[in-house]
């Protein structure tokens, strides 16, 4: 795997603007590497620096410090090449409301130097279910349709790396689902995506790794590993008949950290469910336990997020006290 995006100490400070305002540190010495084909989620509260970071990586605004390489081009000297090689869905769809869908897309296809303009426009209008509305003015589109059209615009030139800034924000559940399914489809096709979102379930479902950002990264890892780091791993084993000797038997296994009975099942905390589960089941079956089913217990990503943010707030308070 090769990294398609590499960021070293990227920092952005906005100077004071007008009386009474102060210099703002929007992004603080960020380091990041995203591999080709990966979906990376940027999570964080409003004002955490997500959009600023995306704007810097799309060569829209310049960093105050640090370096970054996008698709092999260096931020700064190769800004034109970066802009030509990435796709970006901005916070607002930003469509020309008095132009129809085809004209909106064709315009950007020309700017990006797409060779088969009609072919690419047709392809994405069909993929996103906008074919029947292709000659309707973008201003007459619903929010969901506008967002889909904006996504089509970001992909027209087949960029290897796509930045999606809150693609499902303010969409109704149905439209959000269509957009999410499409992102999942892109992921299946091996497209590298950086996804800014407030929707933690969306990040959990779509992202290979997530980074929780508040000016700087508070943590970066896969949602599963983050859960494991914070909460460990647990499985629920439902047996035909729950007997205390089964729990004791499991406690004797080297990889088991804790066993407790709850709601007619055994909750087993262990090191790595993927490796340990077969042994666990074998031991129980050998001991004569009827294993009905075994499931991994999942902590919602929301809990991980709030724990990380809470820890950061605590650190800031302690630093301030010190």
């Amino acid at each position: 795997m090769c990294s398609i995006l590499r960021v070293e100490g990227l920092t952005k400070r906005f100077p004071a603007f007008g009386k009474g305002s102060h210099e703002t540190l929007a992004v603080d010495a960020i380091h990041l590497e995203v591999q080709a084909g990966e979906v990376f989620g940027l999570l964080g509260p409003n004002g955490a620096g997500k959009t600023t970071m995306v704007r810097m990586l799309c060569a829209l605004i310049s960093p105050t410090a640090g370096r970054a390489w996008i698709n092999g081009f260096e931020l700064g000297p190769d800004n034109d090449s970066i802009r030509a090689s990435v796709g970006v869905l901005t916070e607002s769809p930003g469509l020309y409301r008095k132009l129809d869908a085809v004209t909106n897309l064709s315009f950007f296809a020309k700017l990006y130097g797409v060779r088969d303009i009609a072919g690419q426009v047709d392809k994405y209008l069909r993929m996103l279910g906008l074919w029947d509305a292709r000659y309707q003015l973008a201003g007459s589109f619903s929010k969901g349709m506008r967002q889909k059209l904006a996504i089509a615009r970001a992909l027209l030139h087949e960029p290897p790396l796509v930045f999606l800034d809150e693609p499902t924000a303010s969409l109704d559940p149905e439209a959000a689902r269509v957009v999410r399914d499409f992102i999942e489809e892109l992921r299946g096709r091996g497209r590298t995506i950086v996804l800014c979102t407030h929707n933690l379930d969306e990040a959990d479902r779509l992202c290979d790794r997530i980074g929780v950002i508040k000016q700087k990264f508070l943590c970066i890892d896969s949602p599963a590993r983050l859960r494991r780091q914070l909460y460990g791993s647990a499985v629920r084993v439902r047996l035909e008949k729950l007997a205390p000797e089964y729990a004791n038997l499991l406690r004797g296994l080297p990889f088991v950290k804790q066993v407790e009975a709850s709601d007619g099942a055994l909750i087993v905390r262990l090191e790595d469910p993927a490796t340990n589960n077969p042994t666990l089941v074998r031991v129980l079956v050998t001991a004569g336990a009827g294993v009905r089913y075994l499931e991994e217990l999942s902590v919602p990503l929301e809990s991980v997020y709030f724990d990380v943010m809470g820890q950061q707030d605590q650190d800031v308070r302690q630093e301030a006290k010190a």
């Binding site: 020309y96 315009f107 700017l111 130097g113």
Partner: protein, 265 residues
């Protein structure tokens, strides 16, 4: 400064497609030249009719240049009037596109289309040149059409001597060369101002202030304080060309993508 024609042309086509769907602008662009054309032809027809019906035009209190004194009074008056009206035609490309140009950047910001546009590989030079040309070209074409209609009308209703004065070098060069360069100057000013302020009306007002010196010169010509000659028009065209290039470079220098994206509310 990189200029890739296909990108410039793409922006121009988009601007025209949007302008064509803006009824207010289309009406304004059609109405002002139509009024001037009607004024020219109406006045000419009035004097022709008065001359042919033997009315005494000595009472018309209007200065007639000495070089026209050998012509019948009504013909001399028509020519003197046309000279003034042609100046108004020359000013169309200065005044009309300012409105479009003032909306060019601010309009994109207001409709939130500016960020995706700036995220594309279009360079600042390409963007500003395209926006300038897209605003100026319709006004110039309208101006040429208005001038052609006036010439056709004059040929139909006025005596041949009047047409002879209307198709003088000074007006042909003025319309074909000076007028487009003035239009581009006016538009580039509008684009420049539009990229530095937040409100289209402010942009229009500020760019109008910059156009005032040109209007003052035109008034001096109308009052007989200055005379429009071929060398003067050519010199004016050269100055306008230099001003166009200067303003384009200035506009590119002051156009800050980052400021526009992060500070405009």
């Amino acid at each position: 400064m990189k200029m890739r024609p296909h990108r410039v042309w793409a922006v121009i086509q988009k601007e025209w497609a949007e302008t064509a769907r803006n009824r207010g602008i289309v009406w304004m662009m059609a109405l002002i030249p139509a009024v001037i054309v009607l004024m020219v032809l109406g006045t000419d027809y009035g004097f022709v009719w008065a001359g042919q019906s033997g009315q005494d035009l000595k009472s018309v209190n209007m200065p007639v240049p000495p070089n026209l004194s050998h012509l019948p009074r009504h013909e001399a008056l028509i020519i003197a009037m046309n000279e003034q009206f042609f100046f108004y035609l020359l000013l169309i490309p200065i005044t009309l596109p300012v409105y479009i140009a003032a909306h060019s950047i601010i309009g994109e910001k207001e409709t939130r289309t500016l960020e995706p546009l700036l995220a594309s590989p279009v360079s600042t030079g390409e963007l500003l040149l395209a926006k300038g040309f897209a605003a100026a070209a319709p006004a110039v074409v309208i101006n040429w059409m208005a001038f052609s209609i006036v010439l056709g009308g004059v040929a139909l209703i006025a005596p041949p001597a009047v047409l002879g004065y209307a198709v003088r070098d000074v007006w042909i060069i003025g319309m074909l060369l000076f007028s487009p360069l003035l239009a581009l100057f006016s538009v580039m000013l509008g684009v420049l101002v539009s990229s530095r302020v937040n409100d289209p009306r402010t942009a229009q007002q500020i760019s109008s202030v910059f156009v005032m010196p040109l209007i003052l010169i035109s008034l001096m010509v109308l009052m007989g304080k200055a005379f429009l000659t071929v060398p003067l028009v050519l010199a004016g065209a050269a100055v306008a060309l230099a001003a166009d290039i200067l303003v384009l470079f200035l506009a590119i220098r002051v156009f800050q993508r980052e400021t526009i994206l992060t500070r405009w509310k």
